[in-house]
Amino acid sequence: MSSENSTLVKLNNAGFKQNDKWLVEGVSLTVEKGKIVTLIGPNGSGKSTTAKIALGIYKNIEGSVEKYTNKVGYVPQKISIDWTLPLRVYDFMLLTENIKEEAIDEALTLTGVIHLKNKNLGNLSGGEFQRVLIARAISKKPELLVLDEPVQGVDYTGEIALYELIKRISDTLNCGILLISHDLHTVMTATDHVVCLNGHVCCSGSPMDVAKNNEYKSLFGEKASQILSVYEHKHDHVHSEKGEIKKN
């Protein structure tokens, strides 16, 4: 497959301005089939905005977006559903596309919430709802999956399981994933390409490239990058006796 065919969405120098304030500008990134691209950055750095630009939710943008697929699964960061609506988990799964019963059951089983299938959406806890959101996004077997902090509110063991699930989905469906997280640890292990944002692209590259970047260090502080480098220790470097980092 040529590289052009495997591209799902491509941002060229994209930016978005709201009330004369740039939420994010000059972002270029590409999501390809079977690849996981992760956006990291502090609060207000434009991670969600970048995802929304990629999804085409924001229309009046600077730069351009090329989208090569319409099979998109989206897990938003915030979702305000009016609980006055009579809506069961089952109905919610069918929200944007008519999918088969087996596909619904499979997705709900994968995220561990099959027992909630006929419950009313308003009665779920935050973590349960988050799992339903992920199930909904994957049940339609998308080509592009956009996950905006997908594991928020999920308990710790569940969090790891869900990240494993995301990895597995990317392998089995061969879909491209745009993942947003500030959970540096988990992101670093599964991802192919990291883009670090702070109103603009601060740095990008493979997980290890980013971890070594000075700008990234100053953004997240010495401590976080130390935790990270200790973590990275298994992969690409060793610590000398004096505590200095030496590359393999």
Partner: protein, 236 residues
């Protein structure tokens, strides 16, 4: 069969009920009850237009309400005012213009009470035709836009991200609202039309757990029909 005024009224009521039931669900879910009021107020202007220019009332009301609705959508995009302020702005300015125009129509004897509360017993066979064909078209269109409209009611960004074009669905729904007001204004009246939209849907909400099941849609219709009957007995 349609010679009897009461039979005509009954069929008009049932026809309107079929349309306002499902449409009313979206009015309740999308919190548009005040929006229905705004369109109904602007309908007064439509009625006066019909008298001045000698047009069909339903068509004239439909045109004016659609224009007001589309102005509203534009204003929502362009200004920072909250939705209810915009609705109030449009409702009362169109009402005011309508009343001023009525004031100038001295050559026509005009029963404003009839406009406010409607008269279901004065339905003609032509009105029946408008209600049933218009209603059928409205329901058909609603069926076509049901998925994007419902998805964007639940969450706009999800619908937009997954390619359902919610803006178009919203614009079409707004036109449908104008249409339902246009076909029912003569029977139900300016002040009561919002009630026809809200009350049945709000009642049906208590006995349903799912939006999409056909059975539940029939529930909505059934309750609306009951309401219409209720209105009948009060009015007679």
């Amino acid at each position: 069969m349609f010679d009897d005024f009461f039979i005509r009224a009954l069929f008009a009521g049932i026809g309107i009920a079929f349309v306002t039931g499902p449409l009313g669900c979206f009015v309740v879910w999308r919190r548009l009850s005040y929006f229905g009021d705004t369109l109904a107020h602007s309908a007064l202007l439509g009625v006066t237009m019909a008298y001045t220019l000698d047009l069909n009332i339903a068509i004239s009301v439909f045109l004016i309400s659609s224009i007001i609705a589309l102005i509203l959508i534009q204003l929502q995009k362009k200004t920072n005012l909250p939705g209810d302020a915009l609705l109030g702005l449009l409702a009362h300015s169109s009402l005011a213009v309508g009343l001023v125009v009525i004031g100038f129509l001295t050559f026509i004897r005009f029963d404003i009470m009839g406009l406010l509360f409607g008269d279901i017993l004065a339905v003609t066979t032509d009105d029946l035709l408008i209600i049933w064909t218009g209603g059928a078209v409205i329901l058909l269109v609603l069926k076509l836009i049901w998925k994007p409209l419902f998805a964007s009611t639940v969450n706009y960004e999800l619908a937009e991200a997954e390619g359902l074009n919610p803006d178009r669905a919203k614009a079409i729904f707004t036109i449908l609202m104008a249409a339902v007001i246009a076909i029912s204004i003569k029977m139900v009246g300016l002040l009561l039309i919002t009630g026809m939209l809200i009350i049945p849907a709000a009642m049906a909400r208590n006995i349903s757990d799912s939006p999409q099941k056909n059975g539940n849609i029939f529930n909505y219709w059934w309750i609306t029909v009951c309401c219409i009957r209720f209105v009948f007995f009060i009015r007679i």
